[in-house]
């Protein structure tokens, strides 16, 4: 447990949050992957004793404020995903990449499903089928996210 490790984790989360609001061209906007969720899942799997439900909840609140959604909408999904990722971390760690991607896909879909329920509950017009492409993009991106964050973790000896 060193202070430097905390800074590194916080920095990756900040970058993920930044990528959630970075301006994209109009056609690409509906396809923005769930960067924060991916980063959170990685840290939950790699360091389950340090990153967990609390981190997920806090990140979710920040994301809600940042993107102007209902306060708690992302917090709900992210804390659930963090809980599942911490529970399953020992299993997911030993999977090969493609199998990991599938497990991540399930987690991403769960987060999306909860966001959809919230949107439905407050009577917003539900988004179309394109909504379900986002977790697939996230799952396809997973190997790169995993390798990048693993390198970051090893380089800066975060443990």
């Amino acid at each position: 447990m060193n202070a430097r490790g905390w800074w590194m984790i916080a920095l990756t989360f900040l970058v993920a949050l930044l990528m959630m609001i970075l301006p994209l061209p109009e056609w690409a906007r509906p396809f923005r992957p769930q960067w924060v969720t991916l980063t959170l899942i990685y840290w939950c799997i790699a360091l389950p004793h340090r990153v967990g439900v609390g981190t997920g909840f806090f990140l979710g609140i920040l994301l809600d404020v940042l993107t102007g959604t209902l306060l708690g909408q992302h917090a709900l999904g992210l804390s659930l995903v963090a809980f599942l990722a911490v529970q399953l971390h020992a299993r997911i760690r030993v999977f090969p990449f493609w199998q990991q991607s599938l497990a991540i896909l399930v987690l991403l879909i769960i987060e999306h499903l909860f966001a959809l329920w919230v949107m439905g509950a407050i009577e917003r017009r539900p988004p179309g089928l394109i909504y379900w492409v986002i977790p697939v993009i996230g799952a396809l991106l997973w190997p790169w996210v995993f390798v990048t964050l693993r390198d970051v973790r090893r380089r800066f000896k975060v443990s």
Partner: protein, 291 residues
Amino acid sequence: MLAVALSLVLMVLDHRFAHLQQLRSALAFVTYPLQVLADLPVTASLWLQEVTSSRSELLTQNEELRAQNLKLSAELQKFESLQAENIRLRNLLDASYKVGDRVLIAELSAVDLDPYKQQVVINKGAASGVYEGQAVLDADAVMGQIIQVTPFSSTVLLITDPSHSIPVQVLRSGLRTIAVGSGRVNALDLPYLPTNSDIREGDLLVTSGLGGKFPSGYPVARVTRVDRAPDNAFALISAEPAAHLDRSREVLVVWSVTPPSKPLDESDNEAPAAGQTSEAEATQDNTEDTQ
């Protein structure tokens, strides 16, 4: 599971009551640097463009702006006399009406928010006196209203968001109704007009000023489609916002001069009346001069 319960409670509170606005504003203060960072590439490129633009470009632009300025001031002359006339006529009718709104120019931040909500961030906040519920315009028409204020930035809900409604009036017939956002950036719905109402394609909708959020008389949208199905009590009407919701970068934040919800008392009425009579006299003088 505490987190789940907590987020559920937060969502209910946020949806039903307004108490969480302060918490949100406080947290928005934390996330503000992120927004600045996300906006940085666009701001930097604009700045670079400005710095590297050539002299001839600037000259042409200057010339264009001069021409435009001349045209606008010519129009303004006409507008001023019309305004004075309007105030005089309204005085005769004993109707209280104050023309003249204070505006503040703000710039959009290049920040993408939730793609399922129509909202944008501008770079002026409470430090400039911006408050919640204030109307926001672009050069052409009404864009939306402010829903969240932090010291240096604020969030604008566009008129096309499905949760946004704006009281409007058909300019041609004076018919009043409500325009509801459709969720698409180029369309508003007018769901509350019966099939036999006097509205056509191409009609301009302006703010009616009812409800007190938006100052009256600003253009909102142009009717694009009127569908009168005989078996339906209400006509299906859609309109296209006149503001460039997806293109404008400069916006105007408006302070409406009349506080609408509070009844006007005597002292409030006195001051403008005095101003109005003097203006009316001034216009009379002008007409005498021309005669």
